[in-house]
Every structure is written in structure tokens, then in C-alpha cells.
């Protein structure tokens, strides 16, 4: 293995900072992986930023849900490095006027568009800029698009050194001036005009997706350019800190944005599988079942009666029976959305899942999830058809539990795991906690998952301890990481 030479050590310094920031962002980078990354970069030509990125990713990112976080940190740390990865010392108010494309625009298809680089864009009128941008999108000319993105940011973002404004604001200002929605329509129109026959709906759809792809790529270039300028102005560490976001597994269910929610949904499948496997686990300790006597004897005949090859019965893994009982009242509305996805994921993988939802009344919703492959439809039915309101639609755990016990208690048996999801905010109604006690005695186990931060438990109208004293476990579950650790602890 080559050892680092003096010329490379600035890169190693930079890498050290980079890895520190990855850890700050929550990525679990071990010492081994750190060393692997240091070694990896020595096999990569220094000027090849793309290769550098994938070498670092291969050694440092071992979970796809961390990719986004990695990419942001990488951009912040390496977007300013030119061929030698050194900061241009002439960075003033207009830093990137004519720096080179360090990751080589020549990797794109079109070799044209070079006239768009360098300082020659400055003299253009806004109309000329708009036209060049339009043509770049029309032809899918990647390097031209990049160059136009830079110019647009320079003109329209209105970035000033030292201003404490975030990238979103500059992005908004730039995009407002470009009117990309209008551009898309214009592109579609031109496509239509130029074709001999009418474009079918289907063709239009495909073409629109193509243009949207290009426009997305352009937006990414614009964001990247804004980020570069911000990094140049504020410095790497400060920028990295500003851009830090929770990893998907740390996103709070209660405050997830739409996009975060979509990511959560994807992450949930492997997790439910694990959950169900764990719940089923105790029954299949040891890989082999009991000795199969007859089979052993039969086999022994071929060894002259010596039972040389003991035969075992196959262990018969039992399907876990799971009952999920979920609060879907207003106080946990955001959590409930997530809960329903959890229930859906569980029931699509295991037949033996029954689900119930409650507010002050309770209803079984198992069949809503069974009758459709479409989660949106199932959730819609839960929200419109399930009979969960008894009096006023404010949580009443006591009453909801009573309904559960009276109607479904008989179905709970020694093979049943019961998962209760809710914040135990009971609006000062009667708790009926004896039900949980009886339930625990009858069921294999009863677990309570609470989406509230622990520090809020038992404050106000929360009576979580009253219930949880009878459970086999109570867990704070506000994010995927906690849900996962719940699953892990079931082992």
C-alpha cells in the first residue's frame, strides 16, 4: 500500500474533517471504516472527484438511507476543491466566475456548450440567458445546463457575503426568475408544433417526463451552485452544520414532512418483517426439532444397523399472532398516520395480524387492510368507515379498552402478542387498567408503544404508568431507530 506523501496530506486533513462531520450528521463510521476510506483515496486519481465520491461512499456509507446525508456533506466538503482540492484564494464577492468543471463535464454526452463557460456569459441580456437555458433544456445539453445554472444563480439569487440567509431563500429567488413551469409548457408546445401528427396523450406523457427530468437536473445544478457560494462565504464547518438534518431513522413521526414520511414508509417494511420474526422467535430455539426416531432407524439400516446418521424432525415455526390496537385520535394524528402504515406493512406480510383502532370507541379494521393492496384506500376506509367515536371523539382509553375486552378478549390466547400504540392521554376518564392486567395474563405478551417523549409521560392527563405497570414492556417510539430497537429487544 502506498503511504501518503506530503502532497497528499492536505487531502487527508480534509478527509479527517469530512469524517468528523459525517459522524456529526449521525452516520456510524467505525475506526476500521475510517482507515479504509483513507486507504481508498490513495488508489484514486486526485483530480477525479466522481471516483473520489464513490470510493468514500463505498467505505463509509453502509446503509442506503444515509446516502442523502452523505451526499450533502460530500458536496460541502469537496465542491470547492478544484484539481488539487485547494480553495481558490481569490474568492471574493463573485467567487466562481470562471473556475473549471472539476469533475469533468466531458462525461456528459454533448461536448458542446463550452462557449457557455468562462466569463463570456456576463454580457448576455436576460432574454438571451432565458433562450440559452431553453435550448439547453430542449437539447438535453448537460454542460450547457450547468453553465446556465451558474449564471442564473450569479444574476438572480442576490447573494451577498455575510448575509445570514439560508439556501432555500436564494433558490426561491433564482427559480422565480426562471419560471421553469412556464418553460416546461413552452417545451411541450414546441414539441407538439414540430411533430407532423398530433402527439398522443401517451407520447405527451413520456415527453413531459423527459423534460421534467432535465428540469430536475437543472434545479440540482442550481442548488449545488448556491451551496458552493455559501460554502465559499461561510466556510465548510458552518455550512455543514446548517445543512445537517436528522437521518431518516431519527425523524420524529409526529413532525415528519411529506417527503420524510415517504421515506419512512419505505424503511418500514424490513422493520416489520424483523418485528414479526422476533415475535415468533421463542418458539423455534435451536435449529433442529426433536429426534425423528423412525427415520433414524430406517437410515441406520444402510450402515448395518448402526444409527450413524441421526435424523431430526423439522422444527415447525409457529406463525405469530399479533393484535395491534392503535389510538388514532387528534393528539397522535401524525403518529397514527405512521401507525396505519405499520399495521399495513405487518398485515401484508403476515396473515395472523388483526388490527383495531380507537378514539373513545373501538373498531376492528383488519379487513380494510386485507381487502386491498392499496394502502391509501385502506387508510381512507379506516378514517371514513371505522366506528371509533362513541360520545364526543375525544380519547377515552378506558372505554375503548372495555369494548376491546368485551368483543375481542375471547380471541386473545397464549399465542397472541398485543401491541398497543398510543399516548395514554385519557382526558381524565376512568382508566379501566384492570383490563390491561387481565389481558397480560391471557396473552403471550403485551407491549405498549408511546409516541410521546418520555419526559411528558404521566403529565397532564397522561396515565401511561397506570397501564404500563401491567405490560411486558413500555417503549418510547418516536422514530424508526426506536422502533427498531424495540424490535431488537424482543429477542
Amino acid at each position: 500500500m502506498p503511504t501518503p506523501t506530503a502532497a497528499e496530506s492536505p487531502l487527508l486533513d480534509l478527509l479527517t474533517g469530512f469524517i468528523v462531520e459525517l459522524r456529526n450528521a449521525g452516520l456510524p463510521v467505525s475506526l476500521t471504516e475510517n482507515l479504509d476510506a483513507m486507504e481508498a483515496v490513495q488508489h484514486i486519481p486526485l483530480e477525479d472527484r466522481v471516483a473520489l465520491k464513490y470510493a468514500l461512499a463505498a467505505t463509509l456509507v453502509k446503509n442506503n438511507s444515509h446516502w442523502k446525508a452523505f451526499e450533502i456533506v460530500f458536496d460541502v466538503y469537496f465542491s470547492l476543491r478544484g484539481e488539487e482540492y485547494v480553495l481558490d484564494s481569490e474568492l471574493t464577492d463573485d467567487p466562481f466566475e470562471d473556475d473549471e468543471d472539476e469533475d469533468g463535464a466531458n462525461r456528459g454526452q454533448g461536448g458542446e456548450g463550452n462557449e457557455g463557460q468562462g466569463g463570456s456569459n456576463k454580457g448576455m441580456t436576460p432574454e438571451e440567458l432565458a433562450e440559452m437555458l431553453y435550448n439547453a433544456l430542449m437539447n438535453g445539453d448537460a454542460s450547457m445546463m450547468r453553465s446556465m445554472a451558474r449564471e442564473s444563480v450569479r444574476r438572480y439569487a442576490g447573494m451577498e457575503p455575510g448575509r445570514p440567509v439560508g439556501g432555500t431563500y436564494y433558490l426561491y429567488r433564482t427559480l422565480r426568475n426562471l419560471d421553469l413551469d412556464g418553460v416546461l409548457e413552452k417545451l411541450m408546445q414546441q414539441q407538439q408544433d414540430e411533430s407532423e401528427e398530433d402527439l398522443s396523450q401517451f407520447e405527451q406523457r413520456l415527453q413531459r417526463d423527459e423534460y421534467k427530468d432535465r428540469i430536475d437536473a437543472l434545479k440540482k445544478e442550481i442548488e449545488a451552485e448556491i451551496r458552493r457560494r455559501l460554502v465559499a462565504d461561510r466556510g465548510v464547518e458552518a455550512m455543514a452544520k446548517t445543512l445537517r438534518k436528522p437521518l431518516p431513522e431519527d425523524v420524529d413521526f409526529m413532525h415528519a414532512s411529506r417527503e420524510e414520511m415517504a421515506n419512512l414508509r419505505k424503511a418500514i417494511y424490513p422493520l416489520t418483517r424483523k418485528l414479526a420474526v422476533r415475535l415468533a422467535r421463542k418458539r423455534r430455539r435451536g435449529r433442529k426439532g426433536p429426534l425423528d426416531f423412525r427415520h433414524t432407524i430406517r437410515t441406520s439400516l444402510s450402515y448395518g444397523g448402526v444409527p450413524a446418521e441421526p435424523k431430526f424432525k423439522n422444527p415447525r415455526p409457529k406463525k405469530p399472532e399479533i393484535m395491534v390496537v392503535a389510538d388514532i385520535s387528534g393528539s397522535v394524528a401524525a403518529f397514527a398516520r405512521f401507525t396505519l402504515h405499520l399495521v399495513y406493512a405487518l398485515s401484508s406480510q403476515f396473515t395472523q395480524v388483526r388490527s383495531f383502532v380507537f378514539i373513545d370507541g373501538l373498531d376492528e379494521v383488519t379487513e380494510y387492510f386485507e381487502q386491498t393492496d392499496d394502502i391509501t384506500e385502506a387508510i381512507h376506509r379506516v378514517n371514513s368507515e371505522a366506528d371509533v367515536v362513541w360520545v364526543d371523539g375525544h380519547s377515552d382509553y378506558g372505554h375503548a379498552l372495555e369494548v376491546f375486552w368485551n368483543n375481542y378478549g375471547k380471541d386473545v390466547g397464549p399465542k397472541t402478542s398485543v401491541l398497543i400504540l398510543g399516548d395514554a392521554r385519557n382526558n381524565y376518564h376512568a382508566p379501566n387498567s384492570w383490563i390491561i392486567k387481565d389481558l397480560s395474563e391471557r396473552a403471550r405478551n403485551v407491549f405498549w408503544l408511546n409516541p410521546e417523549p418520555k419526559s411528558y409521560w404521566d403529565t397532564g392527563d397522561s396515565i401511561i404508568s397506570e397501564y404500563s405497570q401491567h405490560c411486558d414492556g413500555i417503549f418510547e417510539v418516536r422514530n424508526l431507530r426506536q422502533l427498531e430497537s424495540f424490535a431488537d429487544n424482543l429477542a
Binding site: 461512499a57 401517451f202 406523457r205 450413524a308
Partner: protein, 294 residues
Amino acid sequence: MDHRFESVGDVRDKLSSVDYLADDAIAGIVHLADRLEKPILIEGPAGTGKTQLAKSVAEMSGARLIRLQCYEGLDEAKALYEWNYKKQLLRIQADRSGESDWSELEDDIFSDEFLLTRPLLEAIRADDPVVLLIDEVDRVEIETEALLLEILSEYQVSIPELGTVTAKQIPLVFLTSNNTRELSEALKRRCLYLHLDYPDMDREKEIVLTRVPGITEHLANQVARVVRSIRQLELKKHPSVSETIDWARTLVLLGIDQIDAETATETVNILLKYRTDIEKAVKDMNANADSYSG
């Protein structure tokens, strides 16, 4: 030690000479695996070319592919080695007359002759160049992963009766996973990691062109575009690369060179497996295009 590949570009070229279209991430990690002598763990949706990558790397470097297919219940005896105790038993019986003493006999029956080599040991003992593929490693129980750790970091296998067998040459090792469960930290630490997702449109088009004989550039382009649009829908299961290829082959067989909504509707069942997904896609393909704006 000599390196197998000059550069990332070299990997890409060699892969494409065996009809595997790599992007920067794929070519980069294969190059790195050779340099760092580390296994590659590939995760990703079904049919994105995880298994094929190992096969193609073997092919392009003229190495023998040794494959360990994982399944629930896989154990040491099937993965590493096993003593051929039927043969051992016969050997003992043949010796009933008691000519040799027990310790001699023991040495004898725990020798190479009685060892059944399984894929992992086979890869370690190989004299010729090999690529080891440990396919669908997420199917084994997490406890079984421990079997792999020694091989993946030391390239050796300890056999109590024989001692440690060390690799004569470091093989390239690939592990694949469909991500049905989290793999252990210990395993991941030892590997380079690649998430292999669906290819972008241009690469998918190239894949179709290389893998589907007789297809025109025009049709390949259309296929890739339609598949891209379908993958944007929220579906239970998105079309994989292999399904794209199957679809393209079908279109060629049917003599189609222009995909319209009707052909797409009639053949979409090759791309999608679930009824609800098919319905969704059909509805989408026949919808009014204006509803997609914005």
C-alpha cells in the same frame, strides 16, 4: 501484488465487453475491491443486476465463479465443509481387525481425503483465479453470518482437526442482499458497500440494446422511457431490469417498433406482477396528459 485492473475506466470497459453496463459507482467499487482486497456487499431491489455483476466480473477476468446460494437454515456443513462420515465409518469398519491403533486411525480419517469441501472452503483453496459469490445473504439467520466473518476479513478457514487453511490468492468476493433484514454491523464493516438501484434511463437503454438481440435503437429508447415513467408511480413492486428486458424481447417478437398506449396496455403484465399495479399503470398510461402538469 499485481492489480487486476488498471483503473476505474478499465473496469468499465472490461465489463462492457462482457455486456454488463456499469455506472461510476459500480465500476468504482469493483476497482476498489481489487485494490483494498475487500469483499463487496451489494444491496438493492430485485433484478437490478446484483448477481449478474459477480458473474460478469468472473467472466471478464477469466475467473471461475464459485457460488454459495444462501437460504434459511444454511449451516456450516453446507457453506464451509463437512466430514464425510459415511466414508469415515466405512474406513473404521474396514479396520475392525484392529491393525492400526486409534490415534493413527483418527489422523487418517480426519485428513483431506475425508473432507467434503463446500463453496466457501473451495474458494479459499482454489489454485486458479476465482470469484466468490455469496448470493442473497439476507436469507440466512443473523447468527449464521458469523460463519462468513473469518473468510471475509482474513481469507481463511479454521478447521479444528486440520488447522487453518489460508487462501493462496485473494479472490474477489461479492455478497448480495435484497434487504429483507438488516445485516450485522460486523459483516458490513468488513465489506465495501454498494446500493444498486434501478439504472437511469440512458443506462437502461444501453442495457436493453446489448441484451436484446435485434432491437432497434428507437424501440430501446422508447422502452426505457416508458419504464422510467412507470417507475415514478407508487407501486407495490416496480419493474426490474430483467422485466424491462423481457418486455423488450416480447415487443421485438411481436414485431412492434412503436409503443403506443394500446401496445403498452396489452403487454404491461410482463413488466408488472401485481394486479393492482397493473391497473394503476394502465389507468395512468391512458390518462389525459394534462393531469400530470406541475
